[in-house]
Amino acid sequence: MLRSIQQEWFSNIRGDLLAGSVVALALIPEAIAFSIIAGVDPKVGLYASFCIAVVIAFVGGRPGMISAATGAMALVMVTLVKDHGLQYLLAATVLTGALQIIAGFLKLGNLMRFVSRSVVTGFVNALAILIFMAQLPELVGVTWHVYAMVAGGLAIIYLLPLVTTAVPSPLVCIVVLTGIAMYLGLEVPTVGDKGELPDSLPVFLLPDIPLNLETLKIILPYSLALAVVGLLESMMTATIVDDLTDTDSDRTRECKGQGVANIFSGFLGGMAGCAMIGQSVINVKSGGRKRLSTLFAGCFLLVLVVFLGKWVSQIPMAALVAVMVMVSIGTFSWESITNMGKHPASSTVVMLATVTATVATHNLAIGVGIGVVLSALFYANKVGRVFYVRSDLEETNSGHRYYEVVGQVFFTSAEQFIASFDFKEALDKVTIDVHRSHFWDITAIGALDKVIIKFRREGTEVELIGLNEASATLVDKFAVHDKPEAVEKLMGGH
């Protein structure tokens, strides 16, 4: 045990501390920006980021992944804050955590296998678009100075790494723009204008709300959506970090961990959060791999904000906008655009539907739901085509026809199955051989019954071969994987 603690925490100290600092610096503008999206004071997002990062470092299932206040979550809570205020948000955050812990115990993390790659790509792209769109209000009705600063900031962020990769370019962007604004005394909106910044360590407090059914009715729908969005983004980010580092994560532990982190966040005056795709990628890129990187990011963030609060409030919003534009560009899956021609049209449709639904509703859970349903339908449609019916006369002029059914018969192919028989042909006898087909559901069995009855009505005698093999798949407990002989038997006819 001591050994695995050493392995999970201290086997990459230098890389983790460096990456943790880079991430902490990048988390500050994000946490502030997401607080503004949610409509709360920047300190709510900053406390949340600190708290979630620190807690998840201990209880998470994916070492090296960064969790904090996120845009995906902020977008879901906008109306709750607007209609009911901060205290309800804190209560909803605690409830979200509880729901996520339950999801962890129910092992719902495994449901991620139903979320196809196209849906994940759609989610990521939608997130990038939403983060970008959330920056637009900062660019409306401002002086030209703001535009110039955003452009300058982006130039620093993207061009500085060509000169040196030893300092985080977003940090340089913020420092330079803040310096210019203060030196020239420019009248541009700053972080300080957007609300209170933290002036102390977070303290434990109970949300100030009436504990009754009415409150539950208000917060439960939000908490459910937050729990789903949080787990989705966390699971997706975990997969991305898994791929990048070629290691595995413990999804169930991550679900529970996200829950615990959110409960802490809610009681310490923070908003709900989850894993962050952009920050986690930056962490890995900067050399962070272990739990220490996440812990250090959280702690360093709080130290910076509490002690440099006076300076943080002077940061012009334009600098934050530049950083967030970078985050949204980095989050966007560029590959999904270049692959559009190469991938099947159905997967592109799923991806675009996920993006459209998410951007329209500002709720990633709805977008993913639509994406999952669509990809399931496309899949059912595709598999339904794995099917044909062959027919022969036993002997010429014998009046005895032999039908052989091969392939998958279920709700999408049942119609086609019925249409494959020629009921108008006058026959004495038909033999229907189904041993090389699979009847997956009662729609398929219903279709078979219908075919038999139709033949009988025409006065034809019907003989059915191999129904037992064909309907073996009908049983709900049907599970043959890991049993090669069972799979061979099932697929034997194909």
């Binding site: 890389g15 880079v22 040196t164 370019s169 991305i240 990048l244 070629d246 050399g287 980095g330 989050t331």
Partner: protein
């Protein structure tokens, strides 16, 4: 039939591991497997502190990291093959007919745990390749391996001499009794003088010692019994030096982790100060 498994790495001890494994193979008449584990977590991590993400930055990072891993693994794979080749030709020279060579990706401990079924004795060097010159140190993997596996493990020092006298450190624990039975049934030490040694004041273990002596003698071992006073580890190692013993057998990590935390583990101390091979029984 299960194998003698020898953990080969780039350390100077690798040749010794091979020699002791060959010795065990010849005593036991068992097949030999030479194992090299490619542990990716040991690779250094590259870092780019620019903190920005370009368009398609995620994808290009994945390509970059996997290309780096590919290069490193290809090299490590090649290197490992050479080490295994060297060990194999050494074993063949010493008369082992067909040593098997295996390479696995993953952590050493998980890999060995996964191979437990096919393990008869595991032979591992006291120091891994990342340690050089520090004689009184134990490789950071070794303890973890001993705690995880439930097979006999031979921890070998950095020089080889064919074992002539064996000392069995006896504490009367169930593990140790099992060990006695196992040794009695095994040809590993047949024909070598075997010192049955207990440490402790008075003679509380005399009955068990008697039982152990009889068990070993019944299977044709030549047994001498001794009882020592004092601290367990120094007393045993002193006895070992005095009598010119060149192989120590003992039960490993018999106590709870909590006790070990406060008192310290005898096994860890024994291995740390070992100058001859120690066969650890679980």
């Amino acid at each position: 039939m299960s194998d003698v498994i020898a953990c080969i790495d780039g350390s100077p001890a690798a040749a010794r591991v091979c020699d002791y494994a060959v010795w065990a193979v010849q005593r036991l008449n068992a097949p030999l497997t030479l194992l090299h584990v490619l542990d990716h977590s040991r690779y250094p991590v590259e870092s780019d502190l620019s903190g920005n993400l370009l368009l398609g930055g995620r994808e290009s990072l994945l390509t970059e990291l996997s290309e780096l891993d590919a290069k490193r693994n290809k090299l490590a794979l090649e290197q490992g093959k050479l080490m295994l080749e060297a060990a194999a030709s050494r074993a063949i020279e010493k008369g082992v007919s067909e040593p098997k060579q295996r390479q696995r990706h993953g952590g050493l401990v998980e890999t060995l745990a996964g191979m437990q079924e096919e393990t008869r004795i595991l032979v591992i060097g006291k120091l891994g390749e990342e340690h050089t010159g520090e004689a009184e140190q134990v490789g950071d993997h070794v303890e973890q391996v001993i705690r995880t596996l439930h097979k006999p493990i031979l921890v070998v020092p950095s020089d080889f001499s064919e074992p002539h006298r064996v000392m069995l450190a006896f504490d009367g624990s169930p593990t140790c009794r099992e060990g006695v039975k196992m040794l009695a049934a095994s040809p590993l030490f047949l024909g070598l003088p075997c010192h049955l040694v207990a440490v402790g004041k008075g003679n509380p273990l005399s009955e068990e010692l008697d039982w152990a002596r009889k068990t070993l003698e019944a299977s044709g071992h030549d047994v001498e019994v001794a009882q020592l006073d004092g601290e367990v580890e120094p007393a045993l190692h002193q006895y070992q030096k005095d009598k010119g013993i060149d192989m120590v057998v003992m039960g490993a990590y018999g106590h709870s982790r909590i006790r070990e935390f406060f008192v310290g583990s005898t096994t860890s101390k024994m291995i740390k100060n070992a100058t001859v091979p120690h066969l650890l029984l679980r």
